[in-house]
C-alpha cells in the first residue's frame, strides 16, 4: 500500500476485473492508450489483471481514492537493473476523476517508490503530443520533454507524434522539496 495525499496505490486483485474491463472498452479512456487499440474480452482483461507479483521486474498498481473508490491503474515496466530505469504508464478509467489532481498524486506517489525503494535513477514515459491534460500533469511531476517521436502512433485515422519525457532521481527530489 503506497499512500499519497489524494490516492492510495495497492496491488491489483481479481475483484478489480469488472472495473478494468469496463475501462478497457471505453473509447474515451483508451483513446490515449496505445496498448488498448482493440476491443478487449473479459478473458484477455483477466490475464492482464492476474499479473505476476510486484517486484523489481515490474510494478502494477490499482489507484484508489482515499475513500476506497477504484479509479484507475498505474505501472512501471521495462525495468532495467544496470541502467536503473523504467517506463511509467497511467490510466484514470473513472472520467469524473480527470483533472482533479488524482493522476498527479498517483504519479508522484509511484515516483517516490521508484526512487526511494527501488533505487531507480530514471523514469521515462511516452505521451501523445496532443494530450495536453496529461502533459501538464507530467510536467508538474518533474518530467522533462526529451524528444518528439514523429508520427509514432497511428490512431483514429491519422498519425500522432509522441513526446518522450523523463525524470531523474535528483530532479524528483527537488519536486518533492517544493511540495513540502
Amino acid at each position: 500500500m503506497l499512500e499519497g495525499s489524494l490516492v492510495r496505490l495497492r496491488a491489483m486483485e481479481p475483484g478489480d476485473l469488472d472495473n478494468t474491463y469496463k475501462w478497457a472498452n471505453d473509447r474515451e479512456v483508451t483513446l490515449w492508450l496505445t496498448s488498448l487499440r482493440y476491443p478487449m474480452s473479459r478473458k484477455a482483461e483477466e490475464q492482464w489483471v492476474d499479473a505476476p507479483t510486484n517486484s523489481f521486474d515490474g510494478v502494477r498498481l490499482a489507484i484508489d481514492t482515499k475513500d476506497g473508490k477504484h479509479i484507475g491503474a498505474i505501472n512501471l515496466y521495462r525495468v532495467n537493473p544496470e541502467d536503473r530505469k523504467a517506463g511509467l504508464g497511467i490510466m484514470i478509467g473513472e472520467k469524473d476523476h480527470w483533472s482533479n489532481g488524482h493522476g498527479t498524486d498517483a504519479i508522484k506517489t509511484l515516483l517516490s517508490f521508484a526512487f526511494d525503494e527501488m533505487n531507480l535513477h530514471r523514469v521515462w514515459l511516452h505521451a501523445f503530443a496532443d494530450h495536453e491534460r496529461a502533459m501538464a500533469c507530467y510536467l508538474k511531476c518533474g518530467f522533462r520533454e526529451e524528444g518528439r517521436l514523429r508520427q509514432e502512433v497511428y490512431q483514429d485515422g491519422r498519425y500522432y507524434d509522441v513526446i518522450l519525457m523523463g525524470v531523474l532521481q535528483a530532479e524528483f527530489a527537488e519536486v518533492r522539496n517544493g511540495d513540502r
Partner: protein
C-alpha cells in the same frame, strides 16, 4: 571475455569438467572454501550445467585463465540485488602453483571493474575465513575493507573459525583504481 593484466575471465564450459572436478576434491584447495564433501564428476557436471547464463539477475560466474590460456581457477558474483545494487564475490584458485603470484589480485580487480562499471553495482562484499591470511591480504590490496567478524561462523578441521565480512564500495574502487589506471596511461 574480460581482460586483466595477468588474467582473462571467460565463461565456464563443459570442457572445464576435469579441472573443476580435480579442484573441488583437493582438500588443500577446499579447506579455504565452504566446501566439505567429496563431489562426483556428475555433481560437478551438474554444477557446470546449472551455472548462471551470466546476467544481472542470475549473477556472473567466470573461469580465470592466464594470458597463456591456462585455466587456474574460477570466480563469481552472486546474490545480486538490484534495489541495493550489491553482490557477493567468491574466488578460488585451484592450481596451487599459481598461488601468491598476483593472479588472484588481477582476476579480482578485473571482476570488480565489471561489477562496478558494467553492472552498475554500488557494493561488493565477501566472507573470508580468518585462517586464510593470503586471501585476506589480497582482498585488502584490492581495496576491500574489513567490516565485521562473524564469530565461530564455520566449523572445519575439528574446530570453529570466524568469518570476516569485507566489502568495497563503488566510489572506493574508483578512487583506488581508476586514478591508478589514468596515471599509468599518462606515463606518470
Amino acid at each position: 571475455m574480460l581482460e586483466g593484466k595477468l588474467t582473462i575471465l571467460r565463461p565456464l564450459e563443459e570442457t572445464d569438467l576435469e579441472r573443476v572436478y580435480k579442484w573441488i576434491n583437493d582438500r588443500e584447495v577446499t579447506r579455504y572454501l565452504a566446501a566439505r564433501y567429496p563431489l562426483s564428476r556428475k555433481d560437478e557436471a551438474n554444477w557446470l550445467a546449472s551455472g548462471p547464463a551470466n546476467s544481472f539477475e542470475a549473477g556472473v560466474r567466470l573461469a580465470i585463465e592466464t594470458k597463456d590460456g591456462v585455466h587456474i581457477g574460477n570466480l563469481d558474483l552472486t546474490q545480486v540485488r538490484p534495489e541495493d545494487r550489491k553482490a557477493q564475490m567468491g574466488v578460488m584458485i585451484g592450481e596451487k602453483d599459481y598461488w601468491g603470484a598476483g593472479y588472484g589480485t588481477d582476476a579480482i580487480l578485473t571482476l570488480l571493474k565489471f561489477g562496478f562499471h558494467d553492472m552498475n553495482l554500488n557494493r561488493i562484499w565477501l566472507h573470508a575465513f580468518d585462517f586464510n591470511d593470503r586471501a585476506y591480504a589480497c582482498y585488502l590490496k584490492c581495496g576491500f575493507q574489513e567490516e565485521g567478524r562473524l564469530r565461530q561462523h564455520y566449523y572445519t578441521e575439528g574446530r570453529y573459525w570466524d568469518s570476516i565480512v569485507m566489502a568495497i564500495l563503488r566510489h572506493e574502487f574508483d578512487a583506488l583504481h581508476v586514478a591508478a589506471e589514468k596515471a599509468e596511461a599518462a606515463g606518470v
